[in-house]
């Protein structure tokens, strides 16, 4: 609604940039916190080592991600944040938050990471292309869709607990 409000009343939004920034800042912080927590509900093939969270493309998260991951561990694994312009399967990412950039669109980034053991996360604010987890603001709250099928193709396992919170789940084949 907030988004629709923002879309419909874009001029107002533009007229009141400070308000919009404040709103966006809050959502960004929540998304950053979520990114820091996904690791607990996802299993990667091989596993081990720190969980590397890559912020790919435009820097929409700012230092919110750094704050959310500071001093955090998930089941003994440290959290590392990297900021990248573009990404490919050798970028060493465990989780990739893809905001897109002129150099590499969200779709391109997703294509580059297809079948790679990387949890791809997209945001409806920046793109309509969906990764395994796709953030969406619903009822003023940050929610997400889950593409379990894509996750399965990449060899990732997503906890049913997380699936239960999703707005929608694209189930993996055979489910």
């Amino acid at each position: 609604m907030s988004r629709r409000f923002a879309l419909w009343l874009l001029p107002i939004a533009l007229l009141a940039p400070a308000l919009a920034r404040a709103q966006g800042a809050s959502e960004t912080a929540v998304e950053a916190a979520f990114l820091a927590k996904f690791g607990a509900y996802v299993t990667w093939p091989g596993g081990g080592g720190p969980i590397v969270i890559c912020a790919v493309g435009r820097d929409v998260l700012g230092d919110a991600l750094d704050r959310a991951t500071a001093g955090q561990q998930i089941d003994g694994r440290g959290l590392v944040v990297r900021k990248l312009d573009s990404v490919d399967r050798n970028s060493g990412c465990t989780i990739a938050y893809i905001a897109g950039s002129p150099r590499q669109s969200v779709s391109a980034a997703l294509a580059a990471l297809r079948s790679a053991p990387v949890l791809t996360v997209t945001d409806s604010r920046w793109s309509s292309a969906r990764g395994m987890i796709h953030f969406q603001i619903a009822n003023d709250r940050v929610r997400f869709h889950i593409d379990d099928k894509a996750a399965a193709e990449s060899g990732l396992g997503i906890s049913s607990k997380l699936l239960a919170l999703a707005l929608s789940v694209r189930p993996r084949s055979g489910r």
Binding site: V30, F34, K37, G39, A40, Y41, Q73, I74, D75, G76, R141, S159, K161, L162, A164, L165
Partner: protein, 579 residues
Amino acid sequence: MIERSQRVPQFAAALMAVFLLLLGVIVVTQADRVYRSEQAQRADIRAQVLAASVTAAVDFSDLEAAREAIAPFRVDPATRVIAIYDQSGRLLTGYGLHGEKLSPRLPGTAVPSTMSRGVAPVVSGGKRIGTIYLLTDIEPLSRRLSRYALISVLAVMAALIVLILGVAQAALRRANAELQDTNAELIQQMAQREKAENELRQVQKMESIGQLTGGIAHDFNNMLAIVIGSLDIAERRFASNPERARTAIAHALEGANRAASLTKRLLAFARRSPLQPQPIDPNQMVSNMSELLRRTLGEGISIQTVLAGGLWRTHADPGQLENAILNLCVNARDAMEGNGRLTIETLNAHLDDDYAARHIGVAAGQYSAIVISDNGPGMPADVIERAFEPFFTTKSVGKGTGLGLAQVYGFVRQSGGHVRIYSEVGQGTAVKIYLPRYFGPAEVAAAAEAPAELPRGRPGELILVVEDEDQVRRMSVDALQELGYDVLEAPGGEDALALVQTRPDIRLLFTDVVMPDINGRQLADKARTLRPELPVLYTTGYTRNAVVHNGVVDSDVFFIPKPFTVEQLARKMRAVLDA
């Protein structure tokens, strides 16, 4: 001690009952504790289940999802509080049911006793991100207790049963002890009574012995006075007045004879007289006695005899029976004071079992009876009761010895018979003598006429006299020499046997039966091994010995009872030697 033994089972039972109740309480509380801890565990487990299911919701602050996740637990009516608190203990969301309020901060461990608490951490990625807090009702105490009702009732019942058994046991023991006491007392009383009875019997016995000895001493004294007095006179007048001396000696002899007859009667009463029973026809005996009786009883007494036809014979000593009849007749005369009617009746009598049962010492069977009755003044019952006692007499002093009826009684009893007195004051008296019926051959002895002259010994007839008492032996020897026999004497069995061996001309052995070393019977048997044809004549004053059994002389021996007169000895001696 009885008190203590009674209390022990009661105490033990009470202890046991308390123990059982205690056991019941312990079991119930234990079960309750287990139940409560189970309830708490269950609450914890539910909290853990909830914690697992809300992890992601809490992690991603999705309170709606969290509420949805915990909503199903509201269905349980026991649930009072379900709440989720964040890692710093602030309430995230939850339900307060049945009036319970949600605490905004995570409550401590204190829980109302009616509820159990479940707490579980919500953990994500190894980090505690919140807490599930659960409060559930546990069953109320009354409901819980009702679940333990069965075991409680069983425990109470067991305790009651044990108590009742203990009390009953104690009561039983008490009753038992009382019974034992009573029994012991009874036994003691019985012993005391028996002792008293024995003492009484002893006193009575001593009394009758006293009466008996007194009577004997009195009568003997009288007779001895006559004998001694007369002998004294005889001695003094022997030279001066031989005629007077002879008279005195005759008196002395008479006194001695009366003494002899007294002992004879005493023996008769004691059933110790040596009887020589023969088959007797009582009718014949009564007939034969009628002349004697008429003379003895005097003019004033009319005698009537009623003799039964076909009367059974009996078996008794004829002399003693005559004596008994005479005694009864004399008694009757004395009772009638010389004037009256005397009836002698004979009859057959059958004493049945019923009669025998009612009279001590009577055997049921057939008897021939002799009844002597008079129309005198009769006797009261207490006199009848004592009539057969020796020396009991209603006659004045000097008139009678009190031995007459006692002699009759002794003789009849010894002959296997029975004697009864029937009497009523003013009506007269009847005495019935029952003598057992005799079934043997009918050789009724005819009373042998005694020859007038004394039979004497023939020249060369040598008699061996064996007697341990010197004076008696002296008397026997004198008497036999007087009768013209040659005599050898021996004081005992051994001397006698030696004589038998050395003197084959001994014609007869005359021996006492009761002697200290060997008795007369044994002596005779030994003598007969030397001289099988040697005749033996026994004599004795006793009746229970080797020759006389139960007062009856063996039929195959010759016997003369002590004391005997020269005449009796002369006849017996002749009879044996001529046999």
